[in-house]
């Protein structure tokens, strides 16, 4: 008699690998053969995971159509046995899988479309944080502004697309015909985040994307202004930087700010994030 451990190993192989050894352990019923009865578990595994992926990647499904999506899903399920307690995370490798696996790899918009849907899902139930408000920023004394640093909202995810996947997503979401897939002349920067319990995204122009990426690293405002000046000219660089910042605050893309201590003010020295004075919300 198989031990419980051996029996479970055999049962699982029967589902995952189609191994029939399990049929030696189970009975026919009065009404049905064991192959059909065990088939209920085999079928349920694939159909349940396919349903999960269909819910998680609605626009990829809409873009590929039923048969194309079924192919993607079938090969993904075969290559990625679920290792997660919650089905919520089963599809997390799908963007990379679509990007790297033929024939989908030949259509880079598919992997990017999946990456956008995954980022939106991750932002939707990502960590909570109150957004940084203009009222909080208004409390910062003018002399502290050069030393101000910013924290992105914890749900913020930066993506870089080489195709028009974001436009395709928007068309599919509004149930209109998507444009033809194209490779963009320049990579497109996007930020995905959650505002008022809604996951959303917006494309960033190159200069704003540069400033966002540097701000996310904790670079202080005076240095951000210098970077913006270097990027597209000194003329009104501070105004441009302030305009981007204002947009991020209005859209709830930031969760906080802090004033770095002035040089000599703290023995830890300026730039030490641990010594940064957070500004209360």
């Amino acid at each position: 008699m198989s031990s419980l451990k051996e029996l479970q190993d055999t049962f699982q192989r029967g589902i995952l690998a189609g191994d029939d050894a399990i049929l030696g352990e189970i009975n026919d019923s009065d009404k049905e053969q064991r192959t059909v009865l065990f088939g209920v578990y085999r079928n349920a595994y694939v159909s349940r995971l396919a349903e999960i992926l269909g819910n998680d990647y609605e626009q990829v499904h809409a873009y590929l159509g039923d048969s194309g999506f079924a192919k993607l899903v079938k090969s993904y399920i075969a290559a990625n046995p679920s290792d997660q307690r919650s089905a919520r995370w089963f599809g997390r490798h799908l963007p990379a899988f679509a990007r790297d696996t033929a024939p989908f790899a030949n259509h880079p918009e598919v992997g990017e479309l999946a990456a956008l849907e995954k980022a939106l899902a991750d932002a939707f139930d990502g960590q909570d944080a109150a957004p940084l408000s203009m009222a909080t920023l208004a409390t910062i004394p003018a002399e502290d502004w050069p030393r101000l640093t910013f924290t992105p909202h914890p749900t913020a995810i930066r993506l870089t697309f080489n195709t028009n996947a974001a436009t395709i997503w928007s068309a599919l979401k509004s149930e209109t015909a998507p444009p033809k897939p194209t490779r963009l002349p320049e990579p497109q920067a996007l930020v995905v985040w959650r505002q008022d319990y809604m996951a959303r995204f917006r494309p960033l122009e190159a200069e704003e994307a540069m400033m966002w990426d540097e701000a996310a690293k904790g670079v202080r405002f005076s240095v951000l202004c210098e970077m913006v000046a270097t990027f597209a000219g000194e003329d009104e660089a501070e105004l441009r930087a302030a305009t981007y910042l204002r947009g991020w605050v209005d859209l709830g893309m930031l969760a906080g700010c802090a004033v770095e201590p002035a040089k000599g003010q703290s023995p830890a020295g300026a730039g030490n994030r641990a010594s940064v004075r957070p500004v209360s919300q």
């Binding site: 008699m1 198989s2 031990s3 419980l4 451990k5 029996l7 479970q8 190993d9 049962f11 699982q12 589902i15 995952l16 352990e25 189970i26 009975n27 019923s29 009065d30 009404k31 049905e32 064991r34 059909v36 009865l37 065990f38 209920v40 578990y41 349920a44 595994y45 349940r48 995971l49 999960i52 046995p81 679920s82 290792d83 997660q84 307690r85 919650s86 089905a87 919520r88 089963f90 939707f124 139930d125 990502g126 960590q127 909570d128 749900t155 959650r194 319990y197």
Partner: protein, 284 residues
Amino acid sequence: MNSEKPPYLGFGLGLRPQHYEEILFGSPAVDWFEVISENYMIPGGQPLHILDQIRERYPIVMHGVSLSIASTAPLDMDYLGALKKLAERVNPKWISDHLCWTGVHGVNLHDLLPVPYTQEALDHVVDRVSQVQDVLGRRLTLENVSSYVTFGQSEMTEWEFVSEVANRADCWLLFDVNNVYVSAFNHGFSTDEFLHGVPRDRVVQFHVAGHSHEESHIIDTHDHPVCDEVWDFYREAVTHFGPVSTMIERDDNIPPLAELVAELDHAREIAAEVQKRARLAAAE
């Protein structure tokens, strides 16, 4: 450990996102809600925010699908930690999961897989339930699952196995009326034998649900209204166990909330009728 018997809550429904708005703005006649624990084991966002609001108005019960209590893989302490953390936030009336396994070797098959009814499996499950109860600091409630196969090595009936687990591990039982009906049909046993075979004082909840009939077997799909045969068995269960918190499970083809509330009213009518008859019988 909190070993107090869970309270009688009346008639509840599974909390599903499709009904969030109607629940928050319509105050439907539902006594309590059962949530799928894993759906709220997430960092933050709207689902947890809504759950916080609903739990202020309705009692909540947490129902898991991946504890994998009968698996021979080690207990997943990260999962248990997350479950406990959610319980601290939600303050559920009880926490349930299934008497089954869901995978081994780090794989989750996202299904409620059957156990052979052997002494070895019994000892294993009893030991695991005790460990989980120690971690959670409360008694667990375990549900009988629908199954499609039986094992040649089984040494006892399902109800004997379920009863032994409950008595030895000192846990509660969620008596799934539909699952007993489905398994009885699939394996050719009598629903009455199961009903009378489990300890009455351990049963703290009923599940009632719809299923898909495939002629030679029934699949527990939770995508149909409850059928007459299951309602008949529910009537027998209420007659036998007395008032037990009852909940209708619907996981697919989810209808408008009003339809489920109407089904719940049917359960209320059956329970009221059974109680009335019992009172009349007692008075005679």
